[in-house]
Amino acid sequence: MNLRKLTGAAVAAALALPMFVSGANAYELVIPSMDYRTGPFAPNGIVFANGWSDYLTLLNERDGGINGVKIKNVTCETGYNTKKGVECYEKIKGTPPSGALLVQPLSTGITYQLIPKASVDEVPIFSMGYGRTSAANGKVFPWVFNLPATYWSQATGLVQYIADQEGGLDALKGKKIYLVYHNSAYGKEPIRTLEAMADKFGYEFRGLPVDSPGQEQKATWLQIRKEKPDWVLLWGWGVMNQVAIKEAASIRYPMDHFIGVWWSGSENDVLPAGDAADGYLSGAFHAPGGGFPLHDDIRKHVYDKGLGKGDRDRIGEVLYNRGMVGAMWATEAVRKAMEIHGTTEVTGKHVRDGFEALDVDEARLEELGLGGFTYPVKITCENHEGSGKVAVQQWDAKAKQWNIVSKFYEPLRDVTGPLIEADSAAYAAENNVTPRDC
């Protein structure tokens, strides 16, 4: 009896499988999104994914796609899990008709998986500011783009911000800068840069790891309370951010000396702490808020038609904007690829060239309805990062909004340059990659 039912179900399942390989009439641009709407990091993943998808929907609804070719937004749920990410990638990479034009893995672990595959499958990887930092070296990693700014650039930017508050880079001498980090490849990213700068500027550095997921950080914050560092940096993700901000508030650590990475500075992270989070800082490469003309377009063309992925009133949250700006750069790269190759039927290979020639300047941002939203990005053959600038934003708990409170800092290339060179050279040696000439 039960066996029969089971067999019936299995047959039904097998019949259902071929249903999704049909349908390929007009040319479409396949831009996948690897989302995570489940698991411990879902609260952040959802908002980002909504921004990304809504932008693509907007292009389809308002402009009929890119230069008249519709975008096919294929979503796949990764749960921030590498194995599921691999399955997703294999599934979406060949999606007809164009094949995936790029992948945006949205996880450090998955990005590392895909880096060696990218050149073989000819799918460019757009790891926006995350993933392997040394992939900024386009000579070794022709298929990987981590614009607009890597973690290392960001670390140097944040230290410059600190220096500005203290009165110049010389004033850093003898200061204590601590880093509370997610004990994983992602969290460990900035350590080398911060150490290199500690040697250079003479501040005292110490890293305090917190194991994932990071609900219990008492020991970490007791040490901070005891040693009273002048500045604390936070490289966290998910629940770790909320707890860290709460603990910092509890020990009365001054919030305006507490700076998060840009993944530790969204509404999700500060809201649970309430008023105590007032004044908390975080890195940013784009503006917060939903008041840009592009947001109005999204409301009008996407949400008014009921096509929005999320809640209308969450448009303009930090992570939403990040997903949106990511989709913007990705689609601009596709546009560029069409321009370079003179065809609208682009493939992953073309889009790689498009990324490499990506040039989104102020004027273009203005056209897109994003004037002043972020800084211009220009990618070249050897530099896949762009300008790498970062600003600092501050949380205003009363108004419940983030505000940019600093200029955009140029990265200290003399610090990050040699590190990128060394790490990409190591990768090239290990994997028999011959760096190309640029």
Partner: protein
Amino acid sequence: MAFDIFLLEVILSGLMTGVMYALVALGFVLIFKASGIFNFAQGVMALFAALALYDFLAEDGWFFAVFGFTLPVWLAIPATIVVMIVLAWVIERTVLRFLVKQNEIILFMATIGLAFVLEGLGDLLFGSDVKPLDIGIPQGASDWLLDSFNLYIEQLEIFAAGTAAVLVAILAIFFQRTRIGRALRAVADDHQAALSVGVSLDKIWVIVWSVSGIVALVAGIMWGSKSGVQFSLSLIALKALPVLILGGFTSVPGAIVGGLIIGVGEKLAEVYIGPIVGGAIENWFAYMLALVFLLFRPQGLFGERIIERV
């Protein structure tokens, strides 16, 4: 001088954190004691309870959508307790009653299935956003201690310790003095003997899962107030496991004492040994500590003696 205060601070914080762990461990103990089930879903139950509570309190919840008003805290908590009792009843009806007398590892696996179901259900019903939970528990450092003694203690944790004390007292009275409590103890001692004197096993299981659900609610409130209610809340179960083996799977006081030992031990280790070896050692240190205790007492500090016969 400052150093001593710091040591005191570490120890006190460790004790408090231990109580927070113990709150989670208690739920495990109750179910294991009465039915021999290692309930892997305990963490998810805490999450589910906190989600349900949030739903009664917030204006973006189902309750508000259906009835047009939200409940005050003093009504929302009993309402959530009702939800947890219903949940316990459903679990008994749909899962447990079909698995009576199975091997313990099968029951364990069933609770893992249950954890998946509750996780999926929680996500589908309530969404996966972080939900700030504020039911008026004081939070932040205690001003008085900080200003007069330069001693930092988290108020939420003092409150949690008080709640835990009350909870344990109530549980003790419940087990020792009430009819149902006695029946529970009888079942824990010997299923068949209890059945033969007329204790209804079905009913007992519903009761014990309800009580455990209520304990999960308390744990969910405390941890949810700290980090906001979100999926990660269910992962605190992992923090409770060393507490559980140290204290013994079957002992309520064991859960508390185990929690205190683990809490203090891991904090001291992290603060004093951590910096030397690179930090983040609390997780494995807690397990190692428990393991060392186990080598001397294989049934945990307060666990029932394992009597082996051929």
